[in-house]
């Protein structure tokens, strides 16, 4: 089962097709107040859903955020992308426990109430699977931006800082890594360098966009490591173990390492590098005639704030600076926009992000030059969308 094609832009209806000036919905009472105590999207938005990637099993796989339908920078919780290795466990808040042990002075067990009672912090951060755009290394594969870049979402997270929980347990000298382990059927675990984790403001999050985490995002508690590859943000967190070195778990050796052409592999490439993508117009959309369009997209970097985004409509020959929607927050999606008049000709749209460290998003060619064709993870190359003379937009390598 693959991803369905994205929505084609609805051709703008003319006023002559307008409904009666006083339509039926003004002539009778609407739905009751609080008909939905927990509200749902309009029925007309049924196509705005996550889509599942084909995978070997129903429980080890991923679902993608429909970026082509989204605006601004926040991802609604119902559309946050999902990557599971053993399905989504059902964990009652009263049954939740976190063990903090290993190289600590006082091994501790925390309940969910315990974690919520500690000082809290909130921050908006993107999360991206390092496998995002992994299908795009050798040829254009995804039909929509949901398929090419949909392992990317952004939330306001609230939780208590890792620093606080470790301060309670007391970390012993010599401990350099913290292994975080999930309470799912894969008991997924990753080793995190302690110094970096504290520097980026690692958080034990229990809330997302105001409400409790969703089950697919780790209810009741997940580790949030701002800017680190998605997989390290352990969901359903059950165990933090302080160690001298990494555990060398399957997910940090067999998976989530980047194989280079010489047979060596890069390991612990935690930080997601600056990247951007145009979400409108994007693959499988269709322009409705010539004229004004606002090109719009998202840029992000695991190394702080986005400094600039340039947009090209000629496949990278010339570039124009896009407007960035403020406030620009560190390690957060940033919306960029550029006005454009389409003259009806073929055009190749690209965007290129620059972050506060000065790092410039690379072309696919330069990335392949550096990593070869088998690194799979961390493809942050410039994406190209070709607008055809028909107005159809397709995924190309340019």
């Amino acid at each position: 089962e693959g991803l369905a094609a994205g929505a084609v832009l609805v051709p703008s209806a003319r006023a002559t097709e307008a409904p009666p000036a006083i339509p039926s919905w003004m002539q009778a009472q609407g739905a009751d107040v609080n008909a939905h105590p927990y509200g749902q999207p309009a029925a007309f938005e049924a196509e705005v859903v996550r889509e599942r990637m084909k995978s070997r099993t129903l429980t080890a796989g991923a679902s993608f955020t429909p970026l082509q339908h989204l605006h601004g920078t926040i991802t609604p919780n119902g559309l946050f992308y999902e990557r599971d290795h053993g399905g989504v466990p059902t964990i009652g808040p009263a049954a939740y426990r976190l063990l903090v042990d290993g190289m600590v002075d006082r091994p501790m067990i925390f309940t969910l109430s315990d974690l919520k009672r500690l000082p809290a912090v909130s921050a908006r951060h993107f999360m991206e699977c390092s496998g995002n755009s992994g299908t795009e290394w050798t040829k254009p594969t995804g039909r929509t931006v949901q398929e090419t870049h949909g392992l990317l979402s952004c939330s306001e997270w609230t939780g208590t800082k890792l620093e606080i929980v470790l301060g309670i347990a007391g970390v012993k000298p010599g401990a350099g890594w913290c292994v975080a382990e999930g309470g799912d059927a894969a008991a997924l675990d990753r080793s995190i360098p302690l110094e970096h984790a504290l520097k980026i403001g690692a958080m034990l999050a229990y809330a997302q966009n105001g409400e409790a985490l969703r089950p697919e995002q780790g209810y009741p508690v997940r580790l949030v490591l701002p800017g680190f590859e998605g997989n390290t943000n352990i969901k359903w967190l059950r165990h933090l173990e302080l160690r001298r070195g990494p555990a060398m778990s399957k997910e940090e050796t067999a998976y989530y390492t980047e194989l280079l052409p010489d047979g060596k592999a890069e390991q612990f490439n935690f930080v997601m590098r600056a990247k951007s993508v145009i979400t409108y117009p994007s693959g499988s959309q269709k322009l409705d005639g010539t004229g004004f369009y606002e090109i719009s997209g998202l840029a992000w970097s695991g190394s702080g704030r986005i400094k600039a985004v340039d947009v090209s409509v000629d496949g990278g020959k010339t570039w124009q600076p896009a407007t960035l929607q403020g406030p620009i927050e560190p390690i957060c999606l940033t919306r960029f926009r550029l006005p454009w008049r389409w003259n009806g000709g073929s055009a190749v749209l690209q965007s290129r992000a620059v972050d506060e460290t000065g790092y410039v998003q690379p072309t696919l060619k330069s990335l392949v030059g550096q990593y070869g064709l088998h690194a799979h993870y961390h493809n942050n190359a410039i994406q190209s969308w070709q607008v055809e003379t028909s107005g159809d937009v397709i995924n190309v390598h340019a």
Binding site: D114, R117, A186, L194, I200, A265, E266, F268
Partner: protein, 164 residues
């Protein structure tokens, strides 16, 4: 280096007992930390594998619903690299750790420690890494020399980590 972390006293949380930690802890490190008592051989492992693993990973470890486990040695620097236990995994301890925590897929944490040692031994043997009569236990498993032991370059130093 161990970062300085300010001590906190909120009187929140409960001290963990040794028994709790022991029951909780399934993390095995490359040095062998937390490997349990018990042992297993490829022969014992084959019986378990055929019964509980082969349906997904193939009679000869060639893969199916589950990934392939055998056959990639020597392929990493070629145009068609195969990343499997034999060709890619740097530590044999990871095999014990992962199988115990996550396999068999539909029934994780159902094998005894002896069974996990045995099936780990069998997978290593299928890859030609240990001989038929090797015994895997808490002492021997960390000593297994994996072909790709030195295949990884840590990027920790190269990461640009910005403060908050």
């Amino acid at each position: 280096a161990t970062p300085q972390i300010p001590a906190r006293d909120y009187d929140v949380g409960t001290p963990a007992t040794d028994a709790q930690m022991k029951a909780w802890d399934i993390i095995v490190g490359p040095e062998g930390r937390n490997l349990p008592d018990g042992s297993g051989t490829p022969v014992a492992g084959k019986a378990i594998y055929d019964q509980q693993c082969a349906a997904c990973h193939g009679d000869a470890g060639q893969g199916g619903t589950g990934p392939r486990l055998v056959g990639g040695i020597g392929s990493l620097a070629t145009a068609k690299p195969i990343k499997d236990v034999g060709s890619y995994w740097p530590y044999a301890t990871t095999l014990f750790d992962y199988i115990r925590r996550a396999m068999p897929f539909s029934n994780p944490q159902s094998l005894t420690n002896d069974q996990v040692y045995a099936v780990s031994a069998y997978i290593l043997k299928m890859n030609g890494i240990i001989p038929d009569d090797a015994v895997m236990d808490r002492r021997t498993l960390p000593m297994v020399e994996m072909p790709n032991r030195n295949g990884f370059v840590s990027m920790i130093g190269a990461s640009v980590v910005t403060g908050k």
